[in-house]
Structures are given as C-alpha cells and as structure tokens.
Symmetry: C2
Subunit: 223 residues, 2 copies
C-alpha cells in the first residue's frame, strides 16, 4: 500500500546542503506493523513527514494505494489526511488554546462527523488512554506524557487505515508505553497499517518488520 | 544541599483542584546522582520546576544550600539560575530565532562571560554531543534528538553545581542516550549534583539513588 521510490530530501541552510534522505526505496503491504529505527538525526522524522504529505521529497516518488497522494488538490488531500492517515508528531503539535477533548475531536470536525458522535468517540478514546479526567485541560495544563497521549488519540479518532507515529512513547513510562503498544498491536491485528518511528526496543521487538535509517540511507532489518 | 519539606502543589483548572504534589519531603546531599521515576502525570516535572524556581509550591519549603533560593530578589535569582543550576526542560524551550550555538551560549551571556570564551565553550560542548556541524542551525532545522541535546548542552555550559534534567533521553536512540548518561556520570564523579527525571531504566540503574513519585506522593526507592 506504501511505495517509496528513490526518495531524496535535501535541506538548504544558508549555503550548506543537508542530505536528510538519500535514494530511499521500500514498500509496505497493507496491514503491516513496521518499526523505523536509527540514530538521532538520521532522517526518520523527515521520512515520516513525506509519507504524511507534510513535506515533499527533493527527488523520487511516494505512492499510497497506488496514487501519488501528496499531489492531490487541496481539498482531497485534507480529506485524506484527516480520514485515512493518522499522524503523531514527535513534538505533538496540539492546539494550545483548545482542551484535550477539542484537540482529539479535530479530525472528526473536518470529517463532518455530527457534534454528539464526535464528542462521544473522542471521550471514549481519551478514556482508553486513561485521560478522561483531563479532558477539559489545555495542553499547558497537561504533563508531557499526557500531551503525547492526546496527540496519539487525535491520530486514531477518525479510525484511519494508516498510522504514522513519530516516537509515540518518548515521554511515557514503561507501563503506559506498554499499554499504548498493546493498543497499536490490536488495531494492527484488525487491519491498521502502522509505521512507528521509535527508539524503544520493545516497540521494535513487537513490530513485524524493522527498517533502519542511518545518515539518510534506509536498510531492511536492524543495522 | 537540597532540602524539601512538606511541599505541595495544587493547580486550579476551572473550579477543579489538581493535587500535583502532596506533602513531598526529601533531602539530597551534594554530589549525589538521583533518578526520579514514576508514571506519566505523577508530578515529576512539577517537582523539578519547583527545584529550579520556575514555580512555587502551594505549601512547604525548598532550600538549596541552606537558603530558600526562590525567594531571592530577581537579580540574584537570575544569577543563581544561570550559574549554579542547569535546567533541562522536558520540551526543551530553545529560542526559536537563534542558532544552536547561540542557544547554548545563553547562560554565559547572562554570566557576563567574554564573547570569545563563551563561543569556544559552547562549541566545545556541542562537539561533545556530536552537534558541531549543526551549530548554525536553528531549532526548526534540527531533529528532535538534536534539539534535546542542545537543551542539555545549554544546561551544562556554565558548569553549574546542580543539574535538573527532565527526561533528557526521551528523544534519543540508545547509543546517544548512553553517551549522555556517561557524560552526566563523569560530571557527577567530579562533583555535579544531578537530579534526573527519567523513564529510562538505564539511567535509573546508574543513579546512586532512586526517588519514586506516584499521584503526587514521593517515596524512597523504586515502587
Ligand atoms: N528544516 C531543516 N533544515 C535543515 N536541516 C534539517 C531540517 N530538518 C531536519 N534537518 C536535518 O536533517 C537531519 C534529519 O532530521 P530528522 O528530523 O529526520 O532526524 P530524526 O531521525 O527524526 O532524528 P531524531 O531521532 O533525533 O528525532 C538532521 O541532521 C537535521 O539536522
Ligand atoms: N498548569 C497546570 N494546570 C493544571 N494541571 C496541571 C498543570 N500542569 C500539570 N498539571 C497536572 O499535574 C499532574 C502532574 O503533572 P507533571 O507534569 O508534573 O507530571 P509528570 O510526572 O512530569 O508526567 P510525564 O511523565 O507525563 O511528563 C498531571 O496530572 C497534570 O495533568
Ligand atoms: Mg525525529
Ligand atoms: Mg513531565
């Protein structure tokens, strides 16, 4: 369902070029649970950003379900992003002036879900993450790990077919992280395709497949 | 060197009270390496914020080297914060319009260190973290783990006597995290007092002492 061909991404900083990704090629079948590992600065977030259409490669192609989705017109791309792809950012990117409950509902607002249903689904998901008592808190009134879980709940509320998660347990204790991993694994068992960038060996151990990135280059398996 | 007596911290959210810390009391001797562990939302960042004078308790007292330092006048408190206490935030709080090199120099700017010396010391520390080639990058041009290391370098550049670090390896791969741990351990061996909030069992394992927080309550040892 994911086809990446010869993707490179170069950044310009002043007069310097940074090669963040070099000729990355791989495929992911629908329903796979893939862990993406590699040293800090190796290009993992850059790759995930391209897969989520937040960013464009400097070269190469990316297809999702056979289509170069990032080249769709604005409206179709927005629909895709909100309904089919759930994205968890490494730094969460929650809306600071909105409560946890409002933040989690956001994809359903875009999907046109009726107010009562989207509120119920958001509350239900917050409860699954042990966050129901913090539903009325804004991000500045939450702990780091609580913000992280709100970001994950937001990514899952529209029941996407693809989850792209960037280091989703970085701020979680082992037990809370383990519960999250169980949830991802069970959603994967019911058909969710999941690509999880992680430094956590427990997540890497549970994935069906590991991709390693080092210095912008991707290899199959652990390096 | 650290004395915490009956510290409580209550937040108000609308009409609700959140007891983030409840009657926390403990002492830390100079030169100790302490890990602070506990579930997400248990009160660790709140405690660290009080120890760094970013925040005030609702009740209780905190003394550093026998003095209630957070009650000092503004100038003395600023001096203390920049020279004696190195603080690493869970969400880094780097200045977005400044380069990594400028961010790391900031405590030395406040300390009045001459420009050439502070630049050298900052570059030296960035190099120790493997970040010298990113010195001219601004935070938005850095990976999550690179930002985290810049935040740690900034906390250490003024050679403080106390390090307060909030989950400093959350965005780092095991090897980079291990190198950071080695650095903290070696600074500790030369006299640095270090309190590190962490979810990382490797850091907890290397610390001389572990404090656990659960639901705002502190206990000695692992729970
Ligand atoms: N906007 C940017 N401009 C310039 N360079 C960038 C930019 N964003 C990232 N980089 C550089 O590209 C490289 C890859 O960054 P990326 O964020 O993908 O790393 P990562 O593997 O996610 O690292 P981490 O594990 O620390 O999060 C890094 O060396 C980083 O400094
Ligand atoms: N400004 C605030 N207003 C209201 N409640 C807050 C505020 N800041 C934190 N809290 C609440 O206080 C509790 C403790 O927060 P704290 O950030 O200290 O947790 P933590 O142990 O650092 O968690 P984590 O491991 O997730 O970072 C949390 O339940 C949080 O929701
Ligand atoms: Mg990253
Ligand atoms: Mg915290």
């Amino acid at each position: 369902v994911i086809e990446v061909e010869g993707v490179s991404r170069e950044y310009l900083v002043g007069s310097e070029r940074v090669q963040a990704l070099r000729e990355v090629s791989f495929q992911v079948a629908a329903g796979q649970f893939v862990a993406i590992v590699g040293p800090s600065g190796s290009g993992k977030s850059t790759l995930l950003g391209i897969l989520g259409c937040m960013d464009r490669p400097s070269r190469g192609r990316y297809r999702l379900a056979g289509q170069e989705v990032c080249l769709l017109d604005r409206d179709r791309l927005a629909g895709l992003r909100n309904r089919q792809i759930g994205f968890v950012f490494q730094s969460f990117h929650l809306l600071p002036q909105h409560t946890a409950l409002e933040n989690v509902q956001l994809p359903l607002v875009y999907a046109g879900t009726p107010a009562r249903e989207r509120r119920e689904r958001a509350l239900d998901l917050l409860a699954r993450f042990g966050l129901e008592q913090w539903a009325a808190h804004r991000p500045s009134q939450l702990s780091g790990g609580q913000r992280q879980r709100v970001a994950i709940a937001r990514a899952l509320v529209a029941r996407p077919s693809l989850l792209l998660a960037d280091e989703p347990t970085g701020n979680l204790d082992r037990r809370t992280g383990g519960e999250l991993l169980d949830l991802i694994a069970s959603l994967n068992a019911s058909g969710l395709t999941a690509l999880v960038v992680t430094h956590d060996p427990e997540i890497a151990g549970r994935a069906q497949r590991i991709l390693s990135i080092r210095d912008g280059e991707l290899r199959e398996g652990e390096i």
